[in-house]
């Protein structure tokens, strides 16, 4: 990658001229194993498949498209794993994972491509499709209730990176540094994004009277 995954663009003075050493990446051993033996990529896949799928559902609002995006994300990650370079450092925080940031960067690219394709070929959004679901399908009805919640709708009304920042923060519980790495912004910019998004959602919920 051309830039550090956790949002910094320059090395600190004390780091210049010596190699970076990652101590804390929680995925480091799994990544190293998968780079040596691609069959061991399955551990990383099992660990993150739900997160990537969840992110794709929030972005695409369509379960089938989310499955497709998830598949493309992991296939891309597997075939590009040899290019991945660990960059987490001790003060990136306990458990910081640049692999997760890298994986979500891929997911973000895949989702963006799906959205471009969708603009060329408009389809029914999730909410409309769910309303037309079989009324006797209880599992589906539960999904309708969940996804039609005020919070879900308010987040859906946020635009672009505000929505992504909220989802990464509140659903995936990522740190500001990780979100900055995924969205390719500074940490300060992510803080402002989140703050404005929170204000927007608060206003939306107030207008909804909920």
């Amino acid at each position: 990658m051309a830039r550090p995954a956790l949002g910094r663009t320059t090395a600190r003075p004390e780091e210049v001229g010596r190699p970076r050493i990652a101590h804390l990446d929680r995925d480091r051993s799994l990544v190293t194993a998968a780079q040596a033996d691609p069959a061991r990529f399955e551990s990383l896949y099992r660990k993150y498949v739900a997160q990537v799928f969840n992110y794709a559902v929030y972005e695409l609002r369509d379960h089938h498209e989310a499955e497709d995006a998830t598949e493309r994300t992991f296939l891309s990650a597997l075939t590009n794993l040899h290019r991945f370079e660990e960059r987490a450092r001790p003060d990136d925080g306990e458990g910081a994972s640049t692999f997760r940031v890298w994986l979500f960067q891929i997911a973000r690219n895949v989702v963006a491509e799906r959205r471009r394709a969708r603009r060329r070929r408009p389809e029914t959004p999730l909410e409309t499709a769910l309303e037309a679901a079989d009324p006797h399908d209880l599992e589906h009805a539960a999904v309708v209730r969940d996804e039609a919640s005020a919070a879900w709708r308010a987040v859906g009304r946020l635009d672009g990176d505000r929505r992504r920042a909220v989802v990464l923060r509140f659903v995936h519980e990522m740190s500001t540094a990780e979100i900055a790495g995924i969205l390719d912004r500074s940490e300060g910019a992510v803080r402002v994004l989140l703050h404005r998004a929170l204000r927007s959602v608060a206003g939306d919920l107030r207008r909804d009277g909920r």
Partner: protein, 146 residues
């Protein structure tokens, strides 16, 4: 931009809210007095109410099998498609404004019309199709008064 609740810079308010969110997600909420009440309530709602979607077991297992097959191909040294690399190149092309005009046969046309396409059209014109119906349609078209 509206001022922060502390009356200071909005960036400072964003920083305070961010620290509050960090503590909220760490399940160790700090003193929330610096954060507006409506933002606190909204943050708590989002934390509690946003649904988590999980892929179906069937999908998860099918993808695991596909990844295992691809891993086997990588291990065997076969070339595997790199869709993301292509996507990145597409985006770079978009930024560079690749939809620039291309000159084909003295006519400025769009990049969407490839040189191969132009060559095919030229070849087609010089080689009429063999199907009788196609020849008949062309013959009728040629006879039609302009």
């Amino acid at each position: 931009m509206r001022p922060g609740v502390l009356g200071g810079e909005p960036d400072i308010e964003a920083l305070i809210v961010d620290r509050y969110l960090e503590s909220l997600l760490a399940r160790r909420p700090t003193d929330p007095s610096g954060v507006a009440a409506d933002l606190r309530a909204t943050a708590q709602r989002l934390t509690a109410e946003l649904p988590r979607h999980h892929p179906s077991f069937r999908f998860e297992e099918a993808l695991a099998a596909r990844l295992a097959a691809v891993a086997g191909r990588i291990e065997a040294g076969e070339l595997v498609d790199l869709p993301i690399a292509l996507d990145a190149r597409e985006r770079a092309d978009e930024r560079a404004g690749l939809a620039r005009p291309v000159v084909i046969g003295g006519v400025i046309t769009s990049a969407a019309l490839s040189i191969a396409g132009a060559a095919f059209v030229a070849w087609r014109r010089s080689h009429p199709p063999l199907a009788p119906m196609s020849r008949a349609v062309r013959a009728v078209a040629r006879m039609r008064p302009v």
